[in-house]
Amino acid sequence: MNQGTRESAEHARPVMIHDPTLRDGHHAVRHQLGRDQLRRYAAAADAARVPVVEIGHGNGLGASSLQVGRAALADGEMLTVVREQLSHSKMGVFMLPGWGTSRDLKEAIGHGADVVRIGAHCTEGDTTERHLNFLRDAGVEAHGVLLMSHMAAPGRLAEECRQLVGFGASAVGIFDSSGHYLPADVGERIAAIAAAVDVPVIFHGHNNLGMAVANSVAAARAGAKIIDGCARGFGAGAGNAQLEVLVPVLERSGFSTGIDLYALLDAADLAERELMPRPPTIDSVSVVSGLAGVFSGFKSRVLDIASRERVDPRDVFFELGRRQAVAGQEDLIVDVAMELSGREIKWPGPGKSEGARDRRVRRGFE
């Protein structure tokens, strides 16, 4: 860090900045970033000494689909373009088991991915076992991350993270995929995880309630060593922790990032100019999606479908929250919108729900 934001640098605690602008930002542009956009931002981030530049479809390797949107470029094309631009920064990728497979991981490693994040819904960490094992055996730096983490209590998150370390993760942590947390929520969860594991802890903030930078600082203070941020907050819905704000705020708070401020600001300006029609803003729908605790990546699809069905997108988000939809369940949006519009495409069929019986027999799984 340069240019006079340093406070007692000799005592500054290091945090590593992880930059998923070219992955999470994809949600804001329907996964349509092209080669030149990837190339230019990757070069600018590399020049700013951002430690990790993560790229890919917004939902990760193998996720290009009708369900969440098809990407302009294949995974391999994105990796090839970005790899050429990085000489200081590591190249990161992200994958959700069930969406991508080991085949996608092998391909990404073949294209020079240095850091691989394997994600799972916050209570389903055991779906990552095969892939984290594979990465450990392949000698690739592997992060295990829990999505939609507001849906689980601190103790459960700590337990899941401990399990991810056992599978082979060299860093573990939580995503605030809905932008639902307040700083105290984050501090409590990061502290619980940091007490449970002996590897670096990760925090990834979203900005639906205007808390992404504050939450990230709370995470660092509670012991997180890897913090995610995106240029101009480029990301789903209200966007992510804004990288070029996050870095100087962390430095002023007594953490060191090793990032060059002016070069980072240049990268952020370039991102605004080259990557996005406009920087993310906390619009009314994003506030509601954060309050409802629904994955921010649903936003474009919810707006499309709500407008087609002439229903209020805020109602759609609250109903999705009530149904506890998790990332990946975009197919529920149509059902919810049609139900709200009264234009259901449901068919009368046999076997209506029998709540009492379900409660009785669920014990079979406990």
């Binding site: 069930g98 369940q329 495409i345 076997g351 027999v361 669920r362």
Partner: protein, 294 residues
């Protein structure tokens, strides 16, 4: 049921699938469960099997040879990686093997589409729960339309997804994709899997999208309704939740409730593949067992 006229079957694997399968075997008039085997680490499942009145063994697939009598059918409800190894051994026993893991080893069967194939193959693969729930519909639509792309997204309740399935997500995706390609002739196929922790648990759901043809809603609904009615003949909780043409793409959502037995209604993922296993086994049994004359 007269002991002499039913087939002696064994179940390998005592996870969520194996135990539900056992309850379905016990209801069948044509099948008798002679043994449930598992590895020792599934002792809890074996206790459930014993509580259901079945003989059990903890030494894995090789325990099958210890019994005095041979088995007519062996169901493999273990995991995809083990199945290839199991098959090497099971092939020597001469039983019909019905594989409930997504191993891609055996001949793939969806009962309403090519159920008769089970009579001429010795290793029958039931693909996956998502395959069983989507292929009848996709097969019907692929006969009428020529889609360029098919996508299937399955969502199962977390509590209904056991450890083997969680470890086999790669195989689940790849085997289901391969099966859909084989049954529809469409090369570009994508399958994705969600696990939902929602409370109360979400009913098993399969969202199907087809792109690349001129889909007629009325015709499509008739085809889908016919395919669904055929599936309901063996899996009564199979239902179409949505069927529409949206922005030129066909979209069908099927939901499967477990229709009977000890498992909760939402666990249609277990119910549909196990019901398929039973219907395949019973059809095989009907061919083997001389019917009593009236």
């Amino acid at each position: 049921m007269d002991q002499g006229s039913s087939l002696n079957v064994a179940v390998v694997g005592a996870g969520l699938i194996g135990i539900d399968l056992l309850t379905k075997i016990k209801r069948s008039g044509l099948l008798d469960c002679g043994l449930v085997v598992a590895r020792d680490d599934q002792a809890r499942g074996l206790r459930s099997a014993a509580a259901l009145g079945c003989r059990t063994a903890g030494g894995g697939v090789r325990s099958l040879a210890a019994g005095r009598q041979g088995f007519d059918i062996v169901f493999d409800a273990s995991n995809a990686v083990s199945h290839a190894e199991h098959w090497e051994y099971l092939e020597t026993l001469g039983a019909l093997v019905i594989d409930l893991t997504p191993s891609m080893v055996g001949h793939m069967v969806a009962p309403t589409v090519n159920g008769a194939d089970a009579l001429v193959h010795r290793n029958v693969s039931l693909i996956s729960c998502g395959g069983q729930a989507s292929i009848p519909v996709l097969h019907a639509l692929a006969r009428r339309y020529s889609p360029s792309y098919i996508e299937v997204v399955t969502t199962a309740a977390s509590v209904s997804v056991g450890r083997a399935t969680r470890l086999n997500l790669d195989e689940y995706v790849e085997t289901t994709q391969a099966a859909i390609r084989a049954f529809t002739g469409v090369a570009d196929v994508k399958v994705m899997v969600n696990i939902s922790p929602a409370e109360p648990p979400a009913t098993f759901r399969v969202a199907i999208s087809l792109a690349g043809d001129d889909f007629d809603l009325g015709v499509m609904r008739r085809d889908v309704a016919t395919a669904a009615a055929e599936v309901r003949a063996f899996a009564a909780g199979f239902d179409i939740a949505a069927c529409g043409v949206i922005e030129g793409k066909a979209f069908i959502a099927a939901e499967v409730k477990a229709s009977a037995g000890l498992i909760p209604r939402y666990a249609g993922n277990l119910d549909i593949i196990n019901s398929a296993a039973i219907v395949v086994a019973e059809r095989y049994a009907a061919g083997r067992v001389p019917r009593e004359r009236p």
